[in-house]
Subunit: 206 residues, 4 copies
């Protein structure tokens, strides 16, 4: 096995592990959620449409370009939202992995709040890129849901062009997108943001 294959195998294993963990947390119910990792400057591996993320295996992923077109002939289709992944890889060369999770807390907060969620005063914010203190306000934008993913990807990309240090975004009634320089880093950001969403729900109830 050459070095590229070994790296690909490790990436697949990390995505499978993340899927099992996220499912056990209730963050990717049924066939929701989608995951990806950058393989090179113009292609990515991304989860197949309709697969259960708690039961991923290598058959549940395929390689596409950043327009979400498969690199080789296949009867599989990538997740409907794969274009949102490609758009992120194209814009930010430092991103190497992206997770979309679909938790109760993210779903409900993104339905109830109009445009954004502001996170302040949490020590755990220091997990997010470039943040060194809890004395800060981090803005998570909330975009309206849209079944036209091309149109949605343009809305998101325009926002991120102007706000490149966003640590993630929410889609209303749908969930979280976040990313990192590695699969591990992206997974830690999912853990941190889902934790903070739960804190925000609890604070609003007390």
């Amino acid at each position: 096995m050459n070095e590229g294959n070994a790296h690909l195998q490790q990436t697949i294993t990390q995505l499978i592990d993340a899927g099992r963990f996220f499912f056990d947390q209730g963050w990717v119910p049924a066939t929701s959620g989608n995951f990806s990792a950058r393989l090179a400057s113009t292609c990515m591996i991304v989860t197949v449409s309709g697969w259960h993320k708690g039961q991923l295996n290598s058959e549940g992923m395929l390689v596409t370009d950043f327009n979400a077109s498969p690199l080789s002939a296949t009867n599989k289709r990538p997740s409907a939202e794969a274009l949102l992944h490609g758009t992120l890889y194209r814009r930010f060369p430092e991103i190497n992995a992206i997770f979309h999770t679909h938790s109760v807390y993210a779903t409900v907060l993104s339905c109830l709040l109009p445009n954004e969620l502001i996170l302040s005063d949490y020590e755990l914010l220091k997990i997010l890129p470039g943040i060194k203190t809890h004395q800060i306000s981090v803005r998570i934008p909330i975009f309206p849901n849209d079944q036209d993913i091309s149109r949605l990807s343009i809305v998101v990309d325009d926002y991120l062009a102007q706000t490149p240090d966003s640590p993630g975004y929410l889609i209303a009634g749908h969930g979280l997108y976040t990313w990192g320089g590695s699969v591990e880093q992206a997974r830690h950001r999912v853990e941190a943001l889902e934790f903070l969403f739960e804190c925000e729900v609890l604070r609003r109830r007390l």
Copy 2:
């Protein structure tokens, strides 16, 4: 092993797995819940009365007709609500598996809401049959609980005759019935609906 036996074995394994998963989620406490799968146009396999669904094995299921009468002599009885399963198989030839779960969220929503639960604007609604967009309102009817299952099955069947595209129903203080073309599809719908019940409870509290 012939093909029919292999299919039966796989179905049994899928029902056992579903039971363990639902129990771990808290959706079938004690001996609550019941599960079935269609075996042919006139018979089904269904869980035995009083079995714990987190500890199912093949002894915990039996084969009955759609009136819930065992096909062969046995000292086991099917779940009290087996007739609700048979009625669904008789009405809808495309249904091949049915799950009744009994979660806290389904129990409480079905006690508090008078006739129905309306689900709107959730991306996860697209898991349900025939739904292509979140911009829709899905109606889950809530029937009063009744210890007379024959009478309850007529009430439910009359409703479904008029509303054949319902994705499931609730019984007050009792829980969810949902179904699918396969055990896997029915299980995904349980996951999606239980997730949405939790979202609905949380939205009402915020």
Copy 3:
């Protein structure tokens, strides 16, 4: 191994399994909770004081009479509340197993409600002894906590002498006692009552 030993071994295994399960649910945090099973008309096996119920083994149990006195010389002490178990076995010959769990929901409800918790209209009530319908009100008494277990056991026993069909009781800020004709039956009643406590908390919040 003779028959009595085989039965004892099975009982120990069932109590160990129940401890692991209850701990995973968060119902016996730290060293809280205590469990027992009747061995004969005048003795019981009961958990040792200070053991973690998620990590029970046969060293974590000992045999005592119904006054909670060990039957043989030992440096172990039974759980402080063992006398509550013995009192139940003495009063009700049909009880063969008792669980005391210590969940968040039981703790909070028993702190907030003055004398009793009334459970009505739940299908799951049918798990409790002698109940055939959801159209019933079941009373779970709540006793004030007391570090004097002899005094507390008299209060409880006087109550149960007058209300022998109670399915369990709560001690304020402390948790649930429930029982059954077998370890399995007692465990199902724990599952059912803890589920109903969670439903009651949720109903009061909506």
Copy 4:
């Protein structure tokens, strides 16, 4: 293996187990939390900065003095808050293990309450040091978060000099510190306090 090594190996195993358990409970999301154990009168083993506590191994810990300086040359750094651990070991010779957890309930309560959390009337308070009855009020102080750990450790140490029987403390938006005479005892106190934080949140909502 000599006796000191055997004890060190056991301590490492207990910290790894605690990390996995705390992570499964959601109490150390992402790379949050830090753990330590006293090795001798002037040194401790403490978790390495940036390690995930659910995936600890012996590489994820290092030995430092009570100023948090490594005892041997290494490219690893201890957790940023290691000085808070050293300060506790220096003040209280009876402390042999310290856990810092970072749960949703501790985070939210410590954000919302101004100076302290008072715990009363819970049976589980008897897990805390020196407490024999539920009829008591236990004070958990809440300190403002501070990225300057030297300054924070002085604030905490001054408080504990005057209130030496505190069972733990909270840092606002950050979580719990608690300790014990052994790793096992410290872990039981984490379990008890996190349980009581959840009870307190629930009581405030009802």
